[in-house]
């Protein structure tokens, strides 16, 4: 399964070497860092020689195509459960410019120390030298090359720790991703852009953290400003304070790091604008952090004020319990008291046993609980009142909803009313028509009879007169 990860053709026998590379051309620009890293551990077999090659980068676009292609074709491989490195690399290939890939790669770095992905730089470079080779061809070739490799050999050197090199390679790769659009033939410029992009990443990260810390600070503000006597949530406030403090510290450190990076940059690069821009950014972030810290301090002051006020109010309401002096009760009765208390309604047996040493504890405990008790009682009442109030408000809302719904339905009822009235009208009219018809029918008959009667009478009359 290790074999499948090795996307590079292995013209040399790298199975014995434990070099690892970022897959698919990732290393081209990571070259200097990678090479030095790998060169450092290059005492591993024949790969050392190849590693020593200065990794000149002829054509970047090819490498990128190759990366992407390899990444795609890499999908055909069934990812192993422990093939995190491969998976991460594929992910990185596909989402070449996202920080996520970086993170997955870094996660894979932990796996790498145990595993031996065994891919190496050099073959990739070889491929890049021969840019005419189609990317897919590269991949297939690598696959083929690795098929016949015996698996067990890869596990030979499982104990080498290459995390440092890996991290370097990642960083350079990431930078390279960002600058891929630029035609980077000049290694110096590459470095410049790379470090600049690094700076921007860190600055962005810091900005995001500042924003989130600000949100937390606002929440803390709201919590601290609440003046209710009983609704205080001290744990939340404390937690939040602690978290914000930690965040501020972390931000401080990050900004310090940012400053170092920018100073570093100043040494390497010559662009005036870059330098001034980075210094401006650092200044802006620092000022934001400073303002946040002052706000935080103010909030803490407000909170202490509130606490003091609360304490005075509380003392006002509950008439201050007398200082918790130990109660002087005759020890014997106290002893019996505690015993009896503990067994009061149990087996109705008097057990003059030896739980006497619980008495002082009991008294202090009870006395410590005293302040809370009356406080508790009052608190409970307040809570109940609040409950009742909220229930009533809810009920009000429900009533309103009910009324609304009924009003809506009234409209429907009116429609029904109209429809039924229409129907009635029509039916009445139709009834009338039919009645008319009926009447006409019946009337007509009468007329008919009358007419025929007259005609017959005339016929008879004529017939009688004629004859």
């Amino acid at each position: 399964m290790q074999r499948r990860r090795l996307h590079q053709s292995d013209q040399q026998d790298y199975s014995t070497t434990s070099t690892y590379t970022i897959q698919a051309g990732a290393d081209q620009q990571g070259g200097p860092a990678g090479a030095t890293g790998f060169g450092g551990s290059g005492a591993v077999g024949g790969s050392g020689g190849h590693l020593a090659q200065p990794l000149v980068y002829p054509s970047q676009p090819v490498a990128f195509e190759s990366t992407i292609q390899i990444g795609e074709s890499g999908q055909s491989l069934a990812p192993d459960s422990d093939d995190k490195y491969g998976k991460a690399a594929r992910q990185w290939n596909l989402r070449a410019f996202s920080g996520q890939a970086l993170r997955t790669l870094s996660a894979a770095a932990a796996v790498v120390t145990g595993n031996q992905p065994g891919t190496n730089n050099n073959n990739q470079d070889n491929y890049n030298y021969s840019a005419s080779i189609p990317p897919s061809g590269q991949f297939i070739k690598s696959e083929e090359h690795f098929e016949p490799e015996p698996e067990p050999e890869i596990f030979v050197m499982a104990a080498r720790d290459r995390t440092g090199e890996f991290a370097n390679a990642i960083r350079s790769l990431q930078a390279r991703n960002i600058t891929r659009a630029v035609n980077i033939r000049d290694p110096r410029k590459a470095k410049q852009v790379q470090s600049y992009s690094e700076f921007m990443m860190v600055a962005r990260f810091v900005g995001k953290n500042i924003a989130s810390t600000y949100a937390k600070l606002e929440k803390l503000t709201m919590l601290a400003k609440k003046k209710s006597l009983f609704d205080d949530r001290p744990q939340e406030i404390q937690e939040l304070t602690y978290i914000i403090k930690g965040d501020l510290n972390a931000l401080n450190q990050q900004i310090a790091r940012l400053q170092d990076i920018s100073k570093d940059q100043r040494r390497h690069t010559s662009g005036k604008h870059l330098v001034s821009h980075s210094s401006n950014m650092v200044l802006a972030l620092q000022s934001k952090l400073a303002s946040m810290s002052t706000d935080f301090k103010q909030i803490l002051e407000v909170r202490t004020e509130n606490l003091k006020q609360q304490k005075t109010r509380r003392d006002q309401f509950s008439q201050g319990p007398s200082p918790l002096a130990a109660h002087t009760v005759s020890p014997s009765t106290a002893k019996q008291g505690s015993l009896l208390l503990s067994e009061e309604n149990q087996a109705v047996s008097i057990d003059m046993g030896g739980s006497s040493d619980t008495t002082p504890l009991l008294s202090t405990q009870t006395q410590m609980a005293i302040y809370d008790e009356s406080d508790n009682y009052v608190q409970q009442r307040a809570e109940t009142m609040q409950n009742i109030e909220s229930t009533i408000v809810e009920l009000g809302g429900i009533f309103q909803q009910l009324a609304h719904m009924v009003k809506e339905q009234e409209e429907i009822v009116e429609r029904i009313d109209t429809n039924v009235a229409d129907a009635e009208l029509n039916i009445e009219a139709a009834h009338g028509e039919i009645l008319k018809y009926f009447q006409s029918v019946s009337k007509n008959r009468w007329l008919m009879i009358k007419i025929f009667g007259v005609l017959i009478f005339f016929f008879l009359f004529f017939v009688v007169f004629m004859s």
Partner: protein
């Protein structure tokens, strides 16, 4: 089941607590246990009162019972023994009420020296009986319960209204169809009437 067992009033003197009045409801215990249980309860209440500072409320938990005690500033104190389920707030409310009533009825000079026999305060058993059911006795609890019931009723009402809405929709459709058909009926009738020659 919420249950109260005993209710007693003490006067907390300088050295000890004097029992002024007490009442108890020991129906849940067997007949033979009652006496001992009563004694225990009195003793325990006394001890607790002696150990509580003035102007303090306290509760002492046992395996199945809780003693609520409230000692007022003027050293008049009340003890209530109840089971675990009895709501705390109601217990303290009851104690406060009892003590207020007692203080109103019985003059203060009787307290330090009184015994059960001398003091005339008979409301304790009534209170105990009434507060056996905290829902009824405590106005706050009652209000809460009523409100909850009302909420449930309202929810049902709203569901019923929704159903009514659906039925009304049905009715609308039916009445529309009816109206259309009646119109058609009218037209037919009219047409029959138009060819009026009777043949």
């Amino acid at each position: 089941m919420v249950k109260l067992f005993a209710l007693s009033i003490f006067h907390k003197g300088a050295s000890e607590a004097r029992l002024l009045k007490t009442t108890s409801d020991l129906q849940s215990f067997s007949f033979f246990q009652r006496g001992t249980v009563n004694e225990f309860m009195t003793f325990a209440s006394k001890t607790i009162v002696e150990r509580t500072q003035p102007t303090q409320r306290q509760l002492v938990k046992q395996d199945a019972y809780i003693c609520y005690v409230y000692v007022r500033a003027d050293n008049l104190s009340g003890v209530l023994i109840a089971d675990h389920e009895y709501p705390q707030r109601v217990a303290h409310t009851l104690l406060t009420k009892i003590l207020d009533d007692f203080a109103a009825k019985v003059p203060a000079d009787q307290w330090p020296q009184g015994t059960e026999a001398t003091i005339a305060f008979d409301l304790l058993p009534a209170f105990l009986a009434r507060y056996q059911n905290p829902v009824e006795a405590d106005p706050l609890t009652k209000m809460q319960n009523d409100l909850d019931e009302t909420k449930i009723i309202l929810k049902n009402t709203i569901e019923a209204v929704l159903e009514r809405g659906e039925k009304l929709d049905d009715m609308v459709n039916k009445s529309e169809k009816l109206s259309l058909q009646s119109k058609a009926f009218y037209k037919t009738a009219k047409k029959t009437n138009s060819c009026c020659s009777f043949t």
